[in-house]
């Protein structure tokens, strides 16, 4: 049995680490204090809010990798819709507490990045004016398709629908994810790769035991696994 | 200050309570009035004790303590009854609770 109240002390230790750390590691501070910086190094649009409809500030280079704001969708390649990880299973839509996610499933399947036939989201909208950044969608996603973005300057001149992010706004490459949250992305990719190799090993063992079409299948999947590892590195 | 000042004040407070109990229809206000009367009595106890021959016996404060405890119990039970009555009659108006009266 654990010590009574130890959970509270654990939490207090975490907050205390944050408290002390914020004095010694300036990169922990996600606050965007423009007054720290000289005139030239301000982000391009700082203090200059969007004038045209649909235009949004998209500078995320100044936040730290401890910052999380709203969800984004991951894809693996250069052509977003071909390599989208989301298969429109709608788990995130149903577990979202404020119900800010809207998904429409595609009618036909399409090849995903590993060459498997999958459904894909025909529409994927997140209303960030409703989203409360709880990360439950990230936790429930079995495909690692939705993660948190740190983009924060989302102001828009359009009150109606301006904060409704569509698929095009949400889709970000895995490389971008590595750029904004390096540690988390590396851990996630490692886990995906591990799971994949474990699955393969299991499948291989099963296939060898059955002695059925072992070579072709194993060959195809090892290739895919290698690709995955390259991305992780 | 003399004992008489306190006694007259207590009598006045008691009569205010009595007036409330006689002239209001709402059962909760009648309960207020009973509380006022009890407190006036407590004031008398303390005043008599203060001006008594032998205050070291502490009769006044002891009796007042017991009176306060009993009054607290009375309020609790009284209000619980009132809630039960309200649930039954949908009112706490004393004059509409007349089901025992002959028609």
């Amino acid at each position: 049995m654990t010590l009574l109240g130890s959970g509270i002390f654990k939490g207090m230790a975490v907050t205390f680490r944050n408290f002390v750390g914020s004095y010694f590691h300036r990169e922990r501070l996600p606050t965007n204090d423009y007054s720290w910086r000289t005139e030239g190094s301000l982000p391009q649009h700082a203090g200059d809010y969007p004038k045209e409809e649909g235009e949004q500030l998209r500078d995320t280079t100044t936040v730290t990798n401890y910052s999380r704001n709203f969800p984004m969708l991951l894809h693996d390649g250069s052509e977003p819709m071909d390599t989208i990880r989301c298969v429109a299973c709608q788990i995130c839509e149903r577990s979202c507490p404020p119900q800010c996610i809207y998904i429409e499933k595609s009618t036909e399947k399409k090849e995903d990045s590993s060459g498997k036939m999958q459904f894909y989201p025909a529409t994927f909208d997140i209303d960030v004016s409703v989203c409360m950044s709880c990360q439950i969608c990230v936790e429930v996603c079995p495909f690692d398709a939705i993660v948190m973005n740190s983009q924060f300057e989302l102001s828009t001149p359009n009150r109606f629908g301006g904060l409704l992010l569509h698929q095009g706004d949400l889709l970000k490459s895995n490389d971008y994810y590595h750029k904004i949250h390096p540690e988390e992305a590396a851990a996630r990719d490692k886990r995906i790769a591990d799971e994949k190799t474990a699955k393969e090993a299991k499948k291989k063992a099963a296939a060898e035991a059955a002695k059925k079409k072992a070579e072709a299948k194993a060959g195809a999947e090892t290739e895919a696994g290698d690709e995955k590892k390259e991305v992780a590195e | 200050m003399t004992l008489h000042h306190y006694l007259i004040l207590a009598a006045l407070l008691f009569c205010v309570g009595l007036m409330g109990a006689f002239t209001r229809r709402n059962a909760i206000v009648v309960l207020f009035s009973v509380e006022i009367m009890l407190n006036a009595a407590n004031l008398n106890f303390i005043a008599f004790w203060r001006y008594s021959e032998n205050p070291a016996l502490l009769h006044g404060p002891l009796f007042t303590l017991f009176a306060i405890a009993v009054a607290a119990a009375e309020v609790a039970v009284g209000l619980a009854l009132m809630i039960a009555v309200y649930r039954h009659f949908k009112t706490v108006d004393l004059e509409s609770m007349d089901t025992l009266r002959e028609e």
Partner: protein, 173 residues
């Protein structure tokens, strides 16, 4: 000098509070006026050097009874506390007459029969002495009081709980 001023201020507060409490139409205002009355009385107890009783008065009457009354009003009347029906009872005239009579009867002995007022003695009532008294000669009273309070607690819960609805009538959530 201090004592006289304090006495008059506190007695005006107490009488005013009591009058407002019994005559105010809005019940919640009435409760707060009642609390003003209790506070004034507590001040008078302090003036009579019964400091422990004054503290208990604040603790029990203002802290507990006041809250209880507020809750009872919110549970029985409307939340606003307004009483828009006729508030004065049918027998109000005879009530006032009886009240006046009682007042006169109470005052007559107070004025006539009591010995002439003495100078107030300086007394030192210690809470410790009160505790010893409660534990030694009055311990049976104290125990009976504890029993009474427990009985009142159980009685209040049973009375306020009302009749429990049968299981079938519970609406399925």
């Amino acid at each position: 000098m201090n004592e006289v001023v304090a006495f008059w201020i506190l007695s005006v507060i107490a009488v005013f509070g009591a009058l407002v409490a019994v005559r105010k139409r809005n019940l919640i205002h009435g409760v707060f006026a009642l609390l003003v009355f209790f506070a004034g009385l507590s001040g008078l107890f302090l003036l009579l050097l019964a400091e422990f009783i004054a503290a208990v008065q604040v603790l029990v009457y203002i802290g507990a009874v006041g809250i209880l009354l507020l809750f009872a009003i919110m549970l029985t009347e409307r939340v606003t506390g307004d009483d828009d029906r006729r508030v004065t009872s049918r027998g109000w005239f005879w009530g006032l007459v009886v009240t006046a009579a009682v007042f006169v009867v109470l005052l007559l002995p107070a004025i006539q029969q009591l010995p002439p007022p003495k100078a107030a003695q300086t007394i030192d009532p210690s809470v410790k002495e009160l505790g010893h008294k409660l534990m030694n000669p009055y311990v049976v009273t104290l125990e009976v009081l504890a029993l009474l309070l427990t009985a009142a607690l159980i009685g209040a819960v049973t009375a306020a709980q009302g009749v429990r609805m049968p299981k079938e009538e519970d609406s399925p959530e």
